[in-house]
């Protein structure tokens, strides 16, 4: 199998893994299963990022999403459910209208994707390490959003502490 053929096969594998586990998140009845399916989606997406030559973002995805956000989500699931309880609810409401909305949105966006004339490079550049370029962008062109991001993170930190501490009256 040629190199390109192998890359395509890997793409289809990762895309299938991502989509199937995303379906698991959406349709699973048990919230714990949903959380673990979310891990599959996040890892599949990280694989897709690698295929898209975004090595740094893929590592960030694994570190922050899988290592941070998902663990936090699982903690919240465990803390907010009596796990011993049989009815670990992940009940869904209004599936039929939601499916109708989804069908319409999917058709419109799918048609848009197919109809648009995307500006694409004819010859893809070889995948090179991106970390240095991202660093230059973050401290050059995007330095203001970068600084604002740190303020946002600080605000989130303080907000989380304020929200979860015991109220002293």
């Amino acid at each position: 199998m040629s190199d390109a053929g192998l890359a395509d096969a890997v793409f289809y594998l990762l895309a299938a893994a991502t989509a199937i586990s995303a379906a698991g998140v959406a349709f699973s009845r048990n919230i714990v299963y949903s959380a673990f399916s979310l891990m599959g989606t996040l890892l599949g997406a990280a694989g897709l990022y690698v295929l898209l030559a975004a090595d740094f973002v893929a590592v960030i995805q694994v570190l922050i999403y899988v290592g941070g956000i998902l663990v936090l989500t699982l903690f919240a699931v465990m803390l907010t459910h009596r796990i011993a309880d049989v009815r670990i609810s992940n009940r869904a409401v209004g599936r039929i209208p939601a499916l109708a909305i989804l069908t319409v949105a999917g058709l419109v966006m799918g048609r848009a994707i197919l109809a648009a004339k995307w500006h694409q490079l004819a010859e893809l550049p070889a995948a090179t390490p991106t970390t240095a370029g991202i660093g230059n962008s973050l401290l050059g062109e995007y330095v203001l959003p970068f600084e604002i991001a740190s303020v946002v993170l600080l605000a989130a930190l303080v907000g989380a502490v304020v929200l979860s501490r015991k109220e002293l009256r």
Binding site: A4, A7, D8, F11, A19, A22, V25, A26, I31, S34, A35, L38, T41, L42, A45, L48, Y49, L52, A54, F56, V57, I64, Y65, L72, T73, A76, V77, L79, T80, S89, N90, R91, A92, V93, A98, L99, L102, A105, G106, M109, G110, I113, W118, H119, Q120, L121, L124, P125, T130, S137, L138, A149, V152, L153, A155, A156, G159, A160, L163, S164
Partner: protein
């Protein structure tokens, strides 16, 4: 089968987005809704990176993807803290049940 191009990635992203939207629309569980939001953010990220790969500005899309991941982390922290607060007050995290504004 045509070689994998931009549209393939866009369709994967569309699928993940739709499933996330379904999650947000149908879930009663607040954490389930947050998971749907994560799916939608990931779909956006796949789009960003696909356009970065197949376009001519490789780093802009990746920097935006990093900002999206950063905001997702902030959102998850605050969202889950709020969920825990709701749980302490109402002893459930069904968003239907938490409908009073009194603290």
């Amino acid at each position: 089968m045509p070689a994998v191009g931009l549209t393939h990635y866009l369709f994967v992203s569309l699928l993940v987005f739709l499933l996330g939207l379904f999650c947000v629309l149908t879930r009663r569980n607040a954490i389930g809704i947050l998971m749907g939001v994560e799916l939608i953010l990931n779909a956006a990220n796949i789009n960003y990176l696909a356009f970065a790969r197949f376009g001519s500005a490789p780093y802009d899309g990746q920097v935006f993807a990093i900002f999206v991941i950063m905001l997702a982390a902030a959102e998850a922290t605050i969202g889950l803290a709020i969920v825990l607060g709701i749980y302490q007050t109402f002893h459930t995290i069904d968003v239907d049940a938490a409908e009073t504004l009194r603290g």
